[in-house]
């Protein structure tokens, strides 16, 4: 298509044009006034006008513009809501199905437009294709504001219109957005925003709409969970709706943390449920709402919340059966660490000691064993039992509680000595079951032969021993005897072993790590780790090897990421029924087999086992992704064993609805307001096919600018006309 038009020479600005116009008009007025007053001939007038026009032409130098181009179909961007929430029902179909159907209608209707389909959810909108429709990596949010901002900031051709396909339950703009704010959204691109409503009718639904907490979760400190409960879609919520808050533990039924009820008024209730999480790290909490009959969206009656519980300080209980240099070294190391809040009890006298003093002359306090192991036990992050006789000091009756404490997430270190392990009466007790090794019930409780502990293959791979090995190499100080420990429990690993003593078919563990339920435990079958500081070998590391050992052990016990063999995470939020993968990152090293086992949380041991997974990581490979498949709703723990290193663990939740389903009500009114504010129209999903395409866009492909006459001819003509005008005026006697 060719179009022709006229213009002025390049470099002539609008200001000059206007100046000339004003000058011309003034000149004409002068001529008119002159002609009236003196009765001049019409030649004077004509030559005056002609000379003025030719002078203007000489300045403007008129051009002829010839352009060639085409009328293109207008660009229309369709923003499709990709939130997981669109899995909610809208009549017989899901909102997702309605949205896709509306998209097909739009594609059929807007054949005279260039349609670009983007999916929006979190952040900038991304190109959408139908194949993505069932992928698990769906966003929770529907952040239209961010999508529009990113679109307006993107380079390239601007669209002529936007079409938003959504149920209207947008994260941003929210239902509280003002008309001004909505108008501002459209103004960024300067185009109308049409909306297609795919929400259908509101379903009868009682749901946990919002969950929030005041402040961060800190171990041992009360946290208030604020819940908003909503009732919509005509569901009768007249009675109080019970709510429970439970912690999902490993190998045990869920533990009740708090309970309450929601009294719904005008479709909304707010409940605050305070509770305390005793253990630090990643904890899973289930919030359950008992919805009334008729609720059609059961997915949002339950939330699985992940709390990354921090500690102000690691609170440790150190109990020692007698004071020794080993006790001293451990106490001094623990006290020197500002991040540790140490509570210590040492047995300083026995019943057979002759103090030769009245009780009032002694600085001794009774060992508050009952108080410690009942009332205060949950407040500790870990317990260190160092060479203490469980029978003599009446610890025996608290061992079942101590074992439960470990399974519930507490840490335990049993440090060797004559009164530790078998020698302390721990064999055959419930506490023995949470230790990483078995404890024989018969035989000598300890051996007095000196030996140098041997670092196992797992010990060489364990980050917990890395610094000790850096300082001392493969050698360790000679120990004066060892406790008798049995074979490792399933899943436990030995970091040090005895070079001569056997436990079953394997070398006897000397230092072993294990997991029991949600907790971790360490068995250290020697009483001379202070020799890592106080020995000729220890001196080689300037005494720092002792601190390095205990920092590694306590760090591993407290799940410090520095001492984990791998960093684990999910590739995306786990949604029930949708595939999810585990991302594994490790320090590069030797090629190893990686074994991943999955277990459900909040169920007593012995539940239906989940299939184990396995992959191989080559030496130079730092990270890998392992598909876990589609999981059902619930809490899970993934235990990853990288070669022979201690296992790393990730607790995670898979929700059916999650935050995306929290508010099931569609918001057609918001979509209508958005369209109205931006000059668009709002249609139902069924009417998507009636949307009109915007006008076509003309795009120039060629533009030729040619002067009508050469500049010197314009100048000659202007000069000649001025001369002619001068001559006519002289003849008329005006000069």
């Amino acid at each position: 298509m060719t179009e022709r038009s006229f213009g002025v020479a390049e470099g002539v600005g609008p200001l000059l044009v206007w100046f000339l116009v004003v000058l011309l008009v003034t000149w004409l007025l002068v001529l008119l006034l002159e002609s009236r007053g003196r009765r001049v001939s019409s030649w004077v007038l004509l030559s005056g006008v002609l000379s003025a026009l030719l002078v203007a032409a000489a300045v403007l130098r008129p051009t002829r513009v010839t352009s060639r181009g085409a009328d293109l179909f207008p660009k229309v961007v369709v923003l499709l809501d990709r939130s997981w929430r669109l899995g909610l029902k809208a009549g017989d179909k899901t909102r997702e199905q309605l949205a896709l159907s509306a998209l097909h209608d739009l594609q059929a209707r807007l054949k005279q437009a260039r349609l670009e389909v983007l999916g929006f959810g979190e952040g900038a909108a991304t190109p959408f294709s139908e194949g993505q429709a069932d992928a698990g990596e769906r966003p929770t949010d529907s952040d239209l504001t961010s999508a529009l901002r990113a679109l307006s900031a993107a380079p390239g051709e601007r669209p002529k219109a936007l079409v938003v396909v959504s149920d209207g339950r947008l994260t941003s703009p929210s239902e509280a957005a003002t008309t001004e704010a909505l108008r501002e959204l459209g103004a960024r691109l300067g185009v109308p925003i049409h909306t297609i409503q795919v929400g259908g009718r509101a379903l009868p639904d009682a749901s946990i709409r919002r969950v929030s907490t005041t402040g961060a979760a800190v171990a041992h400190q009360k946290i208030a969970l604020q819940l908003s409960v909503g009732c919509s879609g005509g569901l009768a919520c007249e009675d109080e709706l019970p709510i429970t808050v439970e912690e999902l533990l490993h190998g045990e039924p869920a533990a009740l943390l708090a309970q309450g009820s929601a009294k719904v008024r005008d479709g909304l209730a707010t409940v605050e449920l305070p509770f305390t999480l005793e253990r630090a790290g990643r904890r899973l909490v289930r919030v359950k709402l008992q919805a009334p009959d008729g609720d059609q969206v059961p997915e949002n009656n339950q939330r699985l919340l992940t709390f990354d519980v921090t500690r102000e300080r690691v609170r440790l209980l150190h109990v020692a059966g007698r004071p020794t240099y080993d006790v001293r070294a451990l106490r001094m190391w623990l006290k020197a660490d500002e991040s540790i809040d140490l509570i210590a009890f040492f047995i300083l006298r026995t019943s057979s000691d002759a103090m030769q003093a009245d009780e009032s002359e002694l600085a001794l306090i009774p060992f508050p064993v009952d108080e410690l192991f009942t009332e205060h036990l949950p407040s500790f992050d870990a317990v260190i039992l160092q060479d203490i006789d469980a029978v003599e000091y009446k610890l025996e009756r608290h061992l079942p509680a101590l074992a439960r404490y470990v399974r519930a997430g507490g840490g335990l270190i049993m440090v060797g000595g004559p009164s530790a392990f078998m020698g302390g009466g721990y064999a055959g007790t419930p506490l023995a079951e949470v230790l990483p090794t078995t404890l024989p019930e018969q035989g000598a409780p300890f051996d007095t032969v000196s030996f140098e502990p041997r670092t196992t293959q797992a010990g060489r791979a364990a980050p917990a021993l890395l610094r000790v090995r850096e300082l001392l190499g493969d050698h360790l100080p000679s120990m004066q005897g060892s406790n008798t420990l049995g074979p490792l429990r399933p899943g436990a690993i030995a970091l040090w072993e005895h070079p001569d003593r056997r436990a079953g078919n394997a070398a006897m563990p000397v230092l072993a790590l294990g997991e029991s339920g949600d907790g971790r435990s360490i068995a250290l079958g020697v009483d001379g780790t202070h020799l890592l500081e106080w020995s000729e070998l220890g001196e080689r590391g300037a005494g720092r090897a002792y601190g390095a050992l205990w920092e590694g052990l306590v760090g591993w016990l407290m799940r410090d990421p520095r001492y984990e063999s791998a960093r684990l995470d999910l590739t995306h939020e786990c949604r029930a029924g949708a595939p999810v993968s585990l991302s594994i990152t490790r320090l590069p090293g030797a090629a190893v087999d990686v074994k991943v086992s999955l277990e459900r949380l909040g169920e007593a041991a012995g539940g239906e086992p989940l299939p184990n997974k396995q992959l191989r990581m080559e030496g130079d490979v730092e990270s890998a992704t392992l598909p876990l498949g589609a999981l059902s709703e619930g809490g899970y723990t993934a235990t990853v064993r990288i070669g022979s290193a201690p296992p790393a663990r990730l607790d995670f939740a898979c929700e059916r609805g999650g935050a995306a389903f929290a508010d099931s009500r569609p918001d057609a009114a918001l979509l209508e307001r958005l369209s109205q504010a931006t000059g668009g129209i709002s249609l139902g999903a069924a009417d998507a096919g009636s949307l009109q395409a915007p006008p076509r866009t003309h795009v120039e492909s060629q533009r030729v600018v040619a002067p009508l006459l050469a500049p010197w001819i314009w100048a000659l003509l202007a000069a000649s006309s001025i001369g002619a005008h001068w001559y006519v005026r002289r003849r008329a006697g005006l000069i």
Partner: protein, 254 residues
């Protein structure tokens, strides 16, 4: 004046402790309290105080749950063995002379590792030993001059509640110490502590206390036990959990 009965009782108690089958022989001994005696400049601990360290261990075994070595060894300041354990005892009654470079280096390493050193002047009236050790310590640890320990220091309440330091001599009512960080690492005694503990082969105390008396001796032994407990437990009795109890006890004692 101490009675024969009290001497006999102490001896019998000690022997009984030795004869008693304790759980840890070998295993469990590596961390036992061991009052190693420092040999510097070739000067050794002389009789009768040479039996003091084992008597100290004996008292600790008899009176507390702490294990202790009954035959403590000597250790030279210039030997690497000095840093094999966190405690050493430096006793004497005469000027120690000038330490060699190796001795100074060994002593500095021991202190910097966190070791505890008790300096016991056996003749505090002359004071030449104490002065010479202070002089040498100042050369080794110029940045840490001795300071007077407060009466509330943990060493006075680690096992017994004691009011003041006591040895064979009553001596000054306070002790000086080199404090590094939060820990008193060198205790400078001018009370002849080993003189109060030393026993003859028959089991009787080798040296009379000044002023003489059973109570004085007991106070000296209690102070020695407290020092041993300080070595083994550091500032355990300063923990908050003990504070109200100890305040009550002190109030009752007054």
């Amino acid at each position: 004046m101490e009675t024969l009965l009290s001497r006999r009782r102490a001896l019998l108690t000690g022997l009984a402790a030795l004869a008693m089958p304790r759980k840890a022989h070998g295993f469990g001994e590596v961390g036992a309290f061991n009052p190693r005696v420092i040999v510097a400049g070739g000067k050794r601990l002389q009789a009768p105080r040479s039996s003091g360290p084992s008597a100290w261990s004996m008292e600790l075994i008899n009176r507390t749950s702490a294990p202790a070595r009954l035959v403590p060894r000597e250790v030279s300041l210039d030997r690497p063995e000095l840093c094999n354990e966190p405690f050493a005892l430096w006793a004497g009654d005469a000027d120690v002379g000038s330490l060699t470079v190796a001795e100074r280096r060994g002593l500095a390493k021991f202190i910097r590792l966190g070791g505890v050193l008790v300096v016991d002047d056996n003749d505090p009236q002359r004071g030449s030993f104490g002065r010479s050790v202070r002089r040498e310590l100042l050369r080794v640890l110029p940045e840490s001059p001795p300071v007077r320990l407060d009466a509330s220091h943990v060493v006075y309440k680690t096992f017994y509640i004691v009011d003041r330091p006591v040895g064979r001599l009553l001596g000054p009512p306070t002790i000086d110490a080199i404090v590094r960080g939060k820990n008193a690492q060198v205790l400078l005694l001018a009370h002849d502590l080993l003189g109060a503990l030393a026993r003859s082969e028959e089991g009787s105390y080798s040296l009379e206390t000044e002023p003489p008396g059973y109570d004085h001796r007991q106070h000296a032994i209690r102070f020695a036990v407290n020092i041993a407990m300080y070595v083994l437990c550091s500032d355990y009795k300063d923990d908050q959990v003990h504070a109200p109890f100890l305040m009550r006890r002190r109030a009752q004692a007054r």
